[in-house]
Amino acid sequence: MAINPTLQPKLTFIHGLRHRILLILALLAPTAGIAGPAIQHWTTSNGVQVYFVPAPDLPMVDVRIVIDAGSARDGQLPGLAFLSNKLIKDGDFGLDADQVATGFERVGARFSTTCYRDMAIIDLRSLTDPELLNPTIQLAAQLVTKPAFQEDSLERERQILLVALQERLQSPSDIANDAFMAALYADHPYATPTEGTVASVKAIKRSDLVTFHNRYYVGRNTTVAIVGALNRATAEKLAWSMVKDIPAGRGAPMLTPLATPPADKTTNNAQIRIQHPSTQTHILIGQPGISYDDADYFPLYVGNHILGGSGLVSRISEEIREKRGLSYSAYSYFNPMRQAGPFVIGLQTRNDQANEAHKVALETIKQFIETGPTVTELEESKQNITGGFPLRLSSNKKIIGMLATIGFYQLPLDYLDTFTTKVDLVSVEMIKEAFTRRVHPEKMATIMVGNLESE
């Protein structure tokens, strides 16, 4: 939900760890393979893929249901996937939103929904005490299987979503992101914001939600990840109770692949400046990047770690922030998705410094492509990635994020176990070669949102 109900955070940090998409990336970003947890996997009779890791230490369980029903499935109605996902919380034909919320919260359970471009997610966290867990699972199963999509619920959520869309227009960062994705993806379903557009959100009808749900919220289009203090038999029972009434249906069709590098230069190298009365200009530069199954995944991932993916230590941060003091946050990342997700370089700076910062960012990436990383940089990056591997699996929450990603993107079950080895195999030459072939500053889109008059 894009509306920000909280007041300003009370803490202020030395560095902001890049973009919020990176938070997703951190969750999805596979990591080094000093053996990961043993992943158990099975398929239910209605086609649901289940992934399970026992975590016996705390009396709690996490369940994440991922449906291939993210906004890439919106079709002609941007916002449809988002609303279909959000309205799950509004009840089935027997319960309204108040009863649903009370049903979870009176047993201390957490229930939430999230929608991205690829994924529609339903998250559940509960204690394992059967008196608390059983009603939680039963309620969640009802909602996933047959949400009511009541007219009045739709109307209310539509209004709230319209406010959220309006709020995006007061944030230079949101404006830049929307323009960036639109420029990169043109006619591809990744182009539109997950929250939709005003025209489309106004046009969505209850029947659209029902049709969407019936098509996509089906067994063969669903992945369930479970992490918690359960044994295999209990986990199987739990998974089955959640999904047993979901029809098998059929999997979603493949999304249109993207040519990378983009075939048509003119659609992707847009230079867009948007006037906004802010003191800073937000700059995003980029192009479509990689999918999870990309053959260049590892050289690009490790290379970017050096270029702009490792906080204050990376080259972009060094050039923009450490050497010149131009920006609080300067970064680059690949956001791997089902189809090529974006490669992004981003920063924000005082309006009158925007052109300078833009120039430095571009020169930094060009230089990196030209000369590649140094041997030392590569060694140090590998040490960070492999040495930090245990940190990526140090909580149930982190493990379930990994598990859901492995399941949803159909990565091999030994993906985590082999990750560090694959990182270690990357050489300076591989990075240089992959960046030269795949990353094209001259074809990148550039978005600048800020007060142009004061530049």
Binding site: N4, P5, T6, L7, Q8, P9, K10, L11, T12, F13, I14, L17, R18, R20, L22, L58, M60, A101, T102, F104, E105, R106, V107, G108, L127, Q159, I160, V163, Q170, S171, S173, I175, N269, A270, I274, Q275, H276, P277, S278, T279, Q280, S310, L312, V313, E322, R324, L326, Y328, S329, Q348, R350, N355, Q383, N384, G387, G388, P390, L391, S395, E455
Partner: protein, 464 residues
């Protein structure tokens, strides 16, 4: 924990969520070990052997609440400068060393504390301790690094405050609600103070606050307590304590009537903040009041079934968003806060009226048994969920110790919340949430004119 804010700040809302959510009872006393070094530094170790990792956080008892007019923001600027080199470790090296050891690091400044942390494989803990001990007294504070970093901090202020209308309102709201309390000033500092900050101000600030007897080291993870204690003594034991002047209490002067401010800023949506003066755990004479206020905040906004969501967002549909928060762990008297964005067709005045009606309802009618039971069940469950994160567990200990409470309170939090009655909630609503103690701030949107220019073509030709 959820992500609410925009752009680059993923870690911030996490911390914010911490501050508005209840701390945990973790049967802490069994796994927590407390030590004191002879130089006065406190060490608290919590064992958690679920994964081979450790988090090390060092908490200094200095934050924006220690600052005075003219140098606001100095604690936070100093936090940035702590990465800019010591006599032993040149600028930037701290981050590089942590990175090549597979670590993650960051630092944060709050009203009542400044903290630095590293997350590492547990066998790398000595690296973090050595570096952290070194910069406790060995910082160089070079002039050229200061000039650049001050620009970075001003960019940070632009990003977080200047260009975010809701954040701007919140800053002005605090400046109106608090008169002489140090919470009057923003953590990041006023822009004019930042512009006029000098390196010598920082040197004095560093010398005054950065010492073992003003610090608490919190280590949570896969470690052996006694071995870790020995290690910590080796790195920190030789650092001399300093003689600090006793802190002034700086208690807020009594508010005598409702205050109201307006901020006009380019924005799409109006926005509203209400705050009632309240005591906190450290300052309250009757601690049960504080737990009752905590319960009250959860009755209003402790989930999707709480009153804000049920009545204002869904029932009356007058708010597109609405929340309530209360931070019982603040170091000084604080506020019970309500904030909301109106739904289409609702005026800010109507929304304000309904928010205040919610408060009146709490004063006039006892909350239901069902609501109390719901919050208590959530507190019991959250108590387990929070143990999924070593970072979070360390945060709780660090905050409690740094604001002058004890980590042992964690053991009693659940029972203290479970003891709260409907009558107590009603009493604190009557006692504290009255109009004379209320400050209201309204964001009045000024139009944003947007126009996009598209310039396709070779890079050299688009004119910037």
């Amino acid at each position: 924990m959820y992500i609410a804010n925009k752009n680059i700040l993923p870690i911030i809302p996490l911390a914010w969520a911490f501050l508005i959510s209840p701390p945990v009872q973790a049967a802490a006393s069994k796994t927590v070990h407390e030590y004191k070094l002879t130089n006065g530094m406190k060490l608290i170790i919590k064992e958690d052997h679920r994964a081979p990792v450790v988090v090390s956080q060092i908490w200094y008892k200095v934050g924006s609440a220690n600052e005075h007019s003219g140098i606001t923001g100095i604690s936070h600027v100093l936090e940035h400068m702590m990465f800019k080199g010591t006599r032993q470790v040149p600028a930037g090296e701290f981050s590089r060393i942590i990175s090549i050891n597979g670590g993650r690091e960051n630092a944060f400044t709050g009203q009542d504390y400044t903290a630095y942390f590293q997350q590492l494989s547990s066998d790398r803990l000595p690296i973090s301790l050595r570096l952290e001990a070194d910069r406790m007294r060995g910082l160089v504070l070079p002039d050229d690094e200061f000039e650049k970093e001050l620009n970075v901090v001003m960019e940070e202020r632009r990003l977080r405050t200047e260009d975010d209308p809701q954040a701007k309102l919140y800053e002005q709201f605090n400046a109106a609600a608090y008169v002489n309390s140090p919470y009057h000033n923003p953590i990041i500092g006023w822009m004019d103070d930042l512009k006029n900050l000098k390196i010598n101000d920082l040197k004095a600030w560093y010398q005054h606050w950065y010492a073992p007897n003003n610090a608490t080291l919190v280590i949570v993870g896969d470690v052996d307590p006694d071995q870790t204690h020995t290690l910590v003594k080796r790195y920190f034991g030789r650092i001399n304590p300093i003689q600090g002047a006793p802190l002034k209490p700086r208690n807020e002067t009594i508010q005598q009537g409702l205050r109201r401010i307006t901020v006009k800023a380019p924005a799409e949506l109006p926005y509203l903040i209400l705050g009632y003066k309240t005591p906190v755990l450290r300052t309250a004479t009757d601690k049960t009041d504080v737990y009752a206020l905590e319960m009250l905040a959860s009755i209003l906004d402790g989930g999707n079934s709480a009153r804000m969501a049920r009545e204002l967002i869904r029932g009356q549909q007058i708010a597109a968003s609405a929340s309530a928060s209360y931070d019982l762990l603040a170091g000084h008297d604080s506020l019970l806060l309500l904030d909301a964005t109106p739904a289409p067709g609702t005026s800010v005045a109507d929304l304000e009226k309904q928010l205040r009606t919610q408060i009146q309802k709490l004063q006039q009618q006892p909350v239901t048994d069902e609501e109390l039971a719901r919050v208590k069940a959530q507190v019991v469950a959250e108590n387990v969920y929070q143990r999924d994160s070593v970072f979070y567990q360390a945060m709780q200990i660090g905050i409690l110790e740094t604001v002058g409470l004890s980590w042992r309170l964690l053991d009693h939090y659940v029972e203290n919340i479970r003891a709260v009655t409907a009558a107590q909630v009603q009493q604190v609503a009557q006692k504290y949430l009255n109009d004379d103690q209320l400050t209201i701030a309204v964001l009045e949107p000024l139009p944003i004119e947007q126009k996009a220019q598209q310039m396709t073509g070779p890079r050299g030709n688009h004119g910037h």
